[in-house]
Symmetry: C2
Subunit: 377 residues, 2 copies
Amino acid sequence: MGNLAELDTPAALVDARRMQRNIARMQDRLDVLGVRFRPHVKTSKSLPVVQAQLAAGAHGITVSTLKEAEQFFEAGITDILYAVCMAPGKLPHVLRLRRAGCDLKVITDSVAAAQAIAAFGREQGEVFEVWIEVDVDGHRSGIPPESDMLIDVGRALHEGGMKLGGVMAHAGSSYEFDDPEALQKVAEQERSGTVRAAQRLRDAGLPCPVVSVGSTPTALSATQLEGVTEVRAGVYVFFDLVMRNVGVCAFDDIALSVLTTVIGHQEDKGWAIVDAGWMAMSRDRGTERQKCDFGYGLVCTQDGAPLEGYVLSGANQEHGILSRAGGVDREIAARFPVGTRLRILPNHACATAAQHPEYHAILADGRIATWPRFYGW
Amino acid sequence: MGNLAELDTPAALVDARRMQRNIARMQDRLDVLGVRFRPHVKTSKSLPVVQAQLAAGAHGITVSTLKEAEQFFEAGITDILYAVCMAPGKLPHVLRLRRAGCDLKVITDSVAAAQAIAAFGREQGEVFEVWIEVDVDGHRSGIPPESDMLIDVGRALHEGGMKLGGVMAHAGSSYEFDDPEALQKVAEQERSGTVRAAQRLRDAGLPCPVVSVGSTPTALSATQLEGVTEVRAGVYVFFDLVMRNVGVCAFDDIALSVLTTVIGHQEDKGWAIVDAGWMAMSRDRGTERQKCDFGYGLVCTQDGAPLEGYVLSGANQEHGILSRAGGVDREIAARFPVGTRLRILPNHACATAAQHPEYHAILADGRIATWPRFYGW
C-alpha cells in the first residue's frame, strides 16, 4: 500500500469507489430486468476486479481469449463463455481446460467450424457446449436470425453429438449512437433478433436454453428483455470517454485513468509535454468520430478533476502533447510546470488498460493497492 | 524450438534473417558515414534482438523508459541513453541505476528540469551526465538551435556541477515524407541544426562532446554526417508498412508479422474474420494518411508472401476483418476457409510488438525460437 504521490509515472489508476458504483449500477439494472449477468472480463483482465463483479451478483464470466479462461479458471471461476468464434486449432486447448473441470463454453457461426468441433469432440469423447453467434446488426460476426445457416449450424452441433447450449449476440453497432432513443432501438433489435434466432432453433426441434445478449450501451438502454436469459457487458466496469460520448456515463463515472508527469514545454505552441504517450494511453482514437473529440485523452488534475478543454492532442511512444483544444494557451508552462502530475481519462478503457502490467487502485480510504493484470494469448 | 504450424494464434513472428539483414544494412551504412550507432531498443524490448544489434557493431543503446534501462543493464549493457526528457521525480531511479554501475545518460530541454537535476545531483553527490534535446523540425520536444534557452540550459547544467555530455535531436517529421529528396533534406536539417546547437554551446565556453541525431528515415537518407558523432534509430530493426510507405524499405524487409487464423466469414460482405484484432495488431493506423492505406495490416500467406489487395480493414479487440481493398471478394470463404493461417504485416512495428509478451523468431534453419520481451514502466 502506497500513496498517489509516490507512484512512478506513467501508471494506470483505478478509482475503486467509481468502479464499485459502476458494478452496482449494472447489476441492479439487470436484476430489475430479471436476467442474469455474465460480465466480459477482457476489459480488466484482473482478478480483484472480476471478484468484485461476482460478489455483486454476476453469474459466470465472458472471455475474449483462452488465456483469460485459463487465468480465471485457475483462480476458481468455472462458468466461462469464450465469446470469439472457435478456431478448430484451439480445440485441444479448450479440451484441456474442460478436462481440468472448467465449464468452458465456445461459440461458432459457421457450418465448417461446427462440423470441426463435433468431429474433434467425438474423436476425443468430449461433448463440447457450443452457442451459436447471431448477427443482429451487421456489425461483425454471427448468423442473421432468419438465415437457413442458423438451423444448419444447430443441426451440425446437435446431431453431431455436441451440446447446443444457446444463442448469443453482441450489438457492437451500439457504440455508433449517442441518443437514448436510438440506443433503446438498438437494444430492442439485439433482443428481438436473438430471441427470434432461439425461437427458430426450437421450432426446428433443436435445444436452445440460453439467450445471451449484450454490450455496455444496450445493457444500459434496454427497457425490457423478454426471452433473454443473460446479458454480457465489459467496459461499463471502468467506463471511458467513448461511453461518455455515447451517453451512458458521465466524466465522474470513469474509473480508469493514467497518471502522468509534465516533462517539458513548447511555449509558443501552447504545448506541455507529458510522459504518457501512446504506450500508456494506447493508440485508440475512439472519440475522433464522436460528438466530442478528446484526442488521446482528457486532462484532469492529479486528484481527478477534469480540466475541460485540455486534452492530449498528440502522442508518440512515450511522449504526450497536452494542449488546449481550440486555441494556444500561452500560459501553459506556468499552468503546468515541469514535474506537475496529472491524470488523463482514456478514450477506450479496454485498450488503455491493456498497455499496463498492473493497476494502482485508489481505495475508499485513499490508500493504493496494486492489482495485477495479465496480457497475451 | 517448435515449428510454425504448432504455434497458437495470434502470435508475433520475427523473421530472423530479415532482421539480421536490416541490422547489417544500418550498421554498414553508418560505418561508411563514419559515425557510431546507438540503436533505440524501444522497438523490440527484447534481449536477443539487442544482442544482435550490438554484435553487429552498435555502441550502447537508446531507451524510452527507465524499465528498459533497468532490464538491459541487468543483462550487462552499461552505455545507455534515456532519450525522453527527464522528469525530476524519476531522478532517484536514475541515481540507483548509476550507483549500481550503469552509465545512464539523461536529457532535458528546459531550464527548470536542468536546475532540478543539478540540485538533486549536488544534494546526492552525483554528477549526472545530461544531454540537451535540440528541436530541428518543430515536431515535438527540444530547444531550437538558435534559442537563448539552449545556452541557459547548458549553463544550468555545467555551472550546476553536472556533466554536459552533448546534444541530441530526433527528426520525427521525417515520417511524413515519402520521396528520397525530401528525406535527404530532412536528414540534412537534422544534422545541421544539431551541429549548430553544439557549436553554439562550445562558442559559449560549454563542453559538448556528443552530437547525436537520428530516426530510421533520416539515418537511411543522410548523405553526409559531418559534425555528428552518433546516430540513433529504432524501427529499422523490424521495419513496417509505415516505413515501406516512407520509402526506406520494401515489403520483404519487414521482419515482424502477426500469425492469425480465420475463424469465420460474412460472405455477402466479402469478409473473413480472423483472430488478430487490435489487441494483436495495436490500434495504430499509421498508414491511414500515407500514400497506401493498409487498414490494420497487409495480409500474407502463412509463409509470408504478400496477398496484395487483402488487408485487415477493421479490428475489434480480438476480431480482425479481412477483406479485399476496393471491392467485395465473393469467393472469400473458399479462398480463406475457417482454420486458414495467415500472416499480417503491421503498420507500426513498435506498437504491434508492444502487444505481445514474446516473439516467435523464425531462424535461418526454419526452427522457431521464443524471444521474451517486456512491457510496462
